[in-house]
Symmetry: C2
Subunit: 373 residues, 2 copies
Amino acid sequence: MPGIVFDLSKTDGNGRSGAISTSRGEIRTPAFMPVGTAATVKAMLPWSVRETGADILLGNTYHLMLRPGADRIGRLGGLHKFMGWDGPILTDSGGFQVMSLSSLRKITEDGVRFQSHIDGRSEFLSPERAMQIQRLLGSDIQMVLDECPALPAPESTIEASLNLSMRWAARSKAAFGQQPGRACFGIVQGGTIAKFRQRSAEALREIDFDGYAIGGLAVGEGQSAMFETLDATLPHLPSDAPRYLMGVGKPDDIVGAVVRGIDMFDCVLPTRSGRNGQAFTWDGPLNLKNARHADDNMPIDAACRCPACRQFSRAYLHHVVKAGEIIASMLVTWHNLTFYQDLMARLRAAIAGSETKVFAASFQSRYGAANEA
Amino acid sequence: MPGIVFDLSKTDGNGRSGAISTSRGEIRTPAFMPVGTAATVKAMLPWSVRETGADILLGNTYHLMLRPGADRIGRLGGLHKFMGWDGPILTDSGGFQVMSLSSLRKITEDGVRFQSHIDGRSEFLSPERAMQIQRLLGSDIQMVLDECPALPAPESTIEASLNLSMRWAARSKAAFGQQPGRACFGIVQGGTIAKFRQRSAEALREIDFDGYAIGGLAVGEGQSAMFETLDATLPHLPSDAPRYLMGVGKPDDIVGAVVRGIDMFDCVLPTRSGRNGQAFTWDGPLNLKNARHADDNMPIDAACRCPACRQFSRAYLHHVVKAGEIIASMLVTWHNLTFYQDLMARLRAAIAGSETKVFAASFQSRYGAANEA
């Protein structure tokens, strides 16, 4: 029994729309996954996240293993029950956060030893432990442990890291084993070097995964380098499996990546920006701290269906952002997640209607024009 | 046309239940008013506050005059529209916050000059200005400006302050004028000195208000002194007008004050405690930070109707409180406001059923027994 079923209903150029069926419900693709780092999508109630149109959440293995602990979540009935979300959950492997958040990292063939950023305790993550944690969490889509070198780096460093990640991918897949109704995704690495990306994709295909992620991008290489890397990578991935671009991104990054054939995304941008008073609109991001909103009785977007736009003015949002009120984080996050889900819905409709390029061109020209943030 | 209509449907001993009719809806009494200081009940959406059972909110003149400004809120259509709450709103006069939050206060017969705690700007509040601000906000129940001396204080200080407050009360009432559908409440002062409280109550009756508040309590005098002051004050207030005990209080304070004949309350305790991980239950307050909750799959209160109790375990709430997640403030505040509204509903039912004393005794014995906070 396969972990998931990917039904690609329509392609338009390289753009793809379809659905991933899981035992916890369907994920319409291209999909955006809100990030629920510590068992909560920050400033949102889970049923409000569902209302925005999200089919699936992302959880962070690194954060959850440190607090409250994977064994504890397992004992309490798994992550879905714990956080009150009954839809599918994808968990990352912790590899990226170990590199970006922890200290005193020591990487060996076996795995990585590091110090918790919360209490300084020494922790160990190996491919086998990363998969065991994700199994304890009850994750529907589990990611292999990879190593993410900081870029820029010498080609030899990127190559050595890539080779280690591919050996870890094979061990992760073996540790994942057979879990009915659950899936395991590999992660393509290789920096922005096309030949490494190709080699990585081929190595992962050899192992055979339920889906393929592109890792190590959106780390400062710039949008054009990211798009070039996607163009060099995607032809080497199977067309009948989901493709997930990790940690991306800005609305225009997502549009460009969907045009190139990406099916899944996750990013903290809509939630983090929501807590900073930045609202996404079809005319570009809006900084609600800006004094010009103080007397503006119009909503962020009169056509938006979210509660922030249906019930409150920019003047109110400006006030609560400036006053540091929690409702500011709640409302602007809700708006941003709604915007992201509406963007995905429009992309799916554009692909279904064979209008992907028209939509992308129209989006980019409008979105870029009035950017104030 | 009277500002409001108070219908006292039942008394039981000194306890009273009824309803205040306003042009924006009915306020069932005894009533608890959640505090919406800066045009938001902290960590709550306004329709969620309504769901807890609240009929009326309190807004703070001091905070709103400083940010975003009463003139601005007036231009934008008033406080109700601004903050998305269409039920009645009571606003205080700013007097208490000037004393507790601002600096460099200078009190004269005319009013009080002070420095804003936000930006240090010099501001002035007089009885006339306090009423003008509340009118701009569109407040349904407006409070007179009073002076609140810090206790303990010499009797002569309390008396001088009381006399000033009574002169300000008369000026406030005159400045309120005639506002169809809106009410003006006086505030009894006089510390814990019975003869001053009586004199203050009589002075206010002479001016003639739509309702009478008891100010200057719950400032450290202790529960028994507070109850004694209520016993010395309430007989001197008209029985056919609402009586509002300002800034009170803990659940057991409220029960004791309702037994004595109070109709309205406001307090930051349920919301502030919610942001600190303290949950109110019928068995006393619960500190969710306590490690004993870390593996507890039971809700705060299995019989509670709030989302925190219907959807989440104590283990989850412990986790998000410890992790400092916004959802912790959202959920525990929601629970606490639900608890407070359910307490008021039970008090109203007890009075209606002539069981006020039985209910109060049973509440106090259970609530005090397992207090861990």
